[in-house]
């Protein structure tokens, strides 16, 4: 993207103006492509279950699809289907779906785990919720539900009223399963979480220690699996789904999450959004981002400093200011429910000048505060001693694990959907994407601190635009039918840059006013999977710091 870069070599299937030539891609895969489907976001190639690994490997190596963005599994009346949503880190607008149908009677599919590390967890989730089995997945067990759960809740014949038994028993030492480590003596298996101050919620880390060092760590999630996908599938498009995104990433990042649903549903149902509403959305979303990053920084400091320290309190103080601004705008402190399909719920609060003044005051106040954070955190030698060169996540691993957001940008991956796949009002504004080559805990914290600065810049520009907006053109919502019924079998995958990274939504319409399948691609879910790379071999405190620097929100991880 940068100017100095030489003329980039084109991948197979890439046209010089940055589009995709699907015919060329189909030629590349040859006879593997059984059929081609048209999704709203990209074309889908239908392939046989046993050629998953070959096809994905070819696409990754020759066509440059190095980002397995999401895996959607679903059950139709006659078949199961897994859809691998592929993207490129260089240009996320170049998308491709790989559709793998499997038989109803015996839903066994090949695994992508050999090509993308992130597929391991995604396939576990698909197995857990839908019931497709992935051969060759090295670790195919339930991930969100307890291991003794009966049935697969998102499959068609699941009976929600059947009783379930959940055990509370000793966990086996994962080292016993992994035979490549010959000598497992002198190690200690310890459960960190689900009730533990380091886990920021209800994450469970099965940790094996050798002395103070972590030999093996296996995140066990699902302690907050609130059936978000089921909830969204039960709601109508127009109004009933929008409250739920607020509760995925609940750290005041609601606006960003709502946008992900709004973007997907609007593109699915061909709804236009007035530009005025887009500006308001952009402003609100960036406020959310600052609030979310504030908490990320605060809790990261909490992990390294101990509880109730100055930085944590300062970040909460600043969050209170933001929450006040957002409350003025939306009427709620945390669960905003402010976006509507086709716009936003209502216009800026009156008197407008007063609100603009408040926002401007905050933007002016931010740089001084950030300087304070830099004084307390990044320029503190003890802090540097603790976080520099710990929790290393090399860029190639980050790509393979599908990391996005500040985690990826802290590993030097220049990937930001706000710029690379523009939506809202972002491409009209002046701002920078922050990256850092440190790849360590420090880099991730630094990226967040600098991103807040950029967000403040965006907010200021939005205020400028909003102030000059002619009074009679303040259209906050376009005309949207009361009941939305997108065409039957229309499929879409759309993502936005949420606080934690790429938050994507897949919706398949079944012709009714509710989604046939609603799949959430959560950035924290993918980021958390990379903890193993960061933490193994490190000391316990560094593992805790690495977890803090990932900034996971369990609501989003487990959904």
């Amino acid at each position: 993207m940068s100017l100095e870069a030489p003329e980039p070599e084109l991948d197979v299937g890439e046209t010089p103006d940055g589009d995709l030539d699907y015919d060329e891609l189909a030629d590349l895969l040859g006879e593997h492509v059984l059929d081609r489907e048209e999704h709203v976001n990209a074309e889908g190639f239908v392939i046989r279950p046993d050629s998953v690994e070959t096809v994905l490997a070819t696409l990754k190596e020759e066509a440059g699809f190095d980002h397995l963005s999401c895996l959607t599994a679903q059950q139709y009346g006659d078949r199961y289907e897994s859809i691998y949503h592929l993207k490129k880190y260089d240009d996320p607008t170049q998308e491709l779906s790989v559709v793998v149908p499997t038989a109803s009677e015996e839903p066994v599919s090949g695994s992508a785990a050999g090509v993308f590390d992130t597929a391991i967890w995604h396939e576990r989730e698909a197995y857990d919720l839908v019931g497709i089995e992935y051969e060759d997945n090295p670790d195919l067990r339930r991930i969100l539900l307890p291991e003794t759960w009966q049935g697969h809740p998102l499959s068609n014949d699941y009976n929600q009223d059947q009783p379930q038994i959940v055990p509370l028993r000793e966990h086996a030492n994962p080292m016993e399963k992994r035979t490549q480590v010959p000598d497992r003596s002198d190690t200690m298996f310890i459960n960190i979480g689900p009730h533990h101050p380091a886990t920021h919620g209800v994450l469970h880390l099965e940790t094996v220690l050798d002395g103070e060092q972590v030999v093996d760590v296996d995140p066990d999630i699902g302690y907050l699996h609130r059936c978000e996908e089921q909830m969204c599938e039960q709601g109508t498009y127009r109004h009933q789904i929008m409250p739920y995104p607020d509760r995925w990433d609940y750290i005041s990042a609601g606006m960003l999450n709502e946008w992900s649903y709004a973007r997907a549903a609007e593109d699915l149902a061909d709804i236009d959004v007035p530009e005025y509403a887009q500006v308001i959305r952009t402003m609100a979303a960036e406020m959310s981002r600052i609030a979310a990053h504030m908490l990320a920084i605060g809790t990261f400091a909490l992990d390294i400093y101990g509880d109730f320290t100055a930085i944590f309190m300062y970040s909460i103080t600043d969050r209170e200011k933001l929450q006040n601004l957002l409350e003025d705008l939306s009427g709620q402190r945390l669960m905003f429910n402010y976006f509507r399909l086709g716009g936003v719920a209502w216009d800026l609060p009156e008197p407008r000048e007063q609100y603009f003044q408040k926002v401007r005051d905050f933007c002016e106040y931010m740089p001084g505060r950030l300087e304070e954070y830099h004084n307390l955190l990044t320029s503190n030698e003890l802090f540097q001693m603790r976080v520099l060169d710990t929790g290393i996540l090399p860029p190639e691993e980050a790509r393979s694990y599908g990391c996005t957001g500040p985690v990826a940008r802290g590993s030097g991956i220049d990937y930001d959907l706000r710029r690379d796949d523009p939506y809202g009002y972002y491409d009209e504004l002046e701002w920078d994407v922050i990256t850092d080559d440190g790849c360590d805990n420090f880099a991730r914290a630094l990226v967040r601190l600098k991103e807040m600065e950029q967000s403040a810049r965006i907010i200021e520009q939005c205020v400028d635009v909003l102030e000059d907006w002619p009074e009679d053109e303040r259209e906050i919502q376009s005309n949207v039918p009361r009941t939305l019924k997108p065409d039957h079998d229309k499929e879409i995958y759309r993502a936005v840059e949420a606080a934690k990274g790429e938050l994507g939504i897949y919706i398949r319409s079944d012709g009714t006013d509710r989604p046939g399948r609603f799949k959430i691609r959560s950035p924290a879910f993918c980021n958390l999977q990379s903890l193993e790379v960061m933490a193994e071999g490190e000391y316990i405190p560094d593992m805790v710091a690495a977890l803090g620097s990932l900034d996971i929100v369990l609501g989003e991880v487990d959904r």
Binding site: L168, T187, M188, N191, H195, D210, G211, Q213, E536
Partner: protein, 136 residues
């Protein structure tokens, strides 16, 4: 001698205070045995194994050995420090003859420390297993 009686007195007081607190607590506290209440706390999970049957990697073993050596040596420095100023002031002894022997003694200690340092003994021993995992 009376000093040590008073110190002994405080030792008794120092034990009596906690004991009396325990007594008060015994009088005041309820006792509701419940299922699971006495289970070892491990973040709400059932602990795997007990902490007694672990063969644990004490990563500061070398440091602990060195500590014993140095700690004993510091005992010798105490009496020297006490008499130092008097001895220096005393014409019969003089600075050189008080200082040099101890300087030599400390020199040997420092030399030992340098040797241990170079051999990597005064640092946290990294775990081989963990290092292997990091590489993988």
């Amino acid at each position: 001698m009376s000093e040590w009686i008073a110190i002994g007195g405080l030792a008794i007081v120092a034990v009596t205070i906690p004991l009396s607190m325990m007594l008060v607590s015994w009088l005041l506290r309820p006792s509701v045995p419940e299922q699971g209440k006495r289970a070892t706390y491990e973040s709400g999970e059932v602990p795997t194994g007990s902490s007694y049957d672990i063969r644990f990697n004490i990563q500061y073993y070398m440091v602990a050995l060195l500590f014993v050596v140095f700690d004993v040596e510091t005992v010798f420095i105490f009496p020297w420090a006490v008499i130092f100023e008097d001895a220096v002031g005393n014409d019969a002894v003089g600075f050189i003859s008080v200082f040099l022997p101890m300087a030599a003694f400390l020199g040997i200690l420092v030399f030992g420390l340098v040797w241990a340092w170079r051999n990597g003994a005064v640092q946290w021993a990294t775990s081989q297993q963990a290092e292997r995992q990091r590489v993988e």
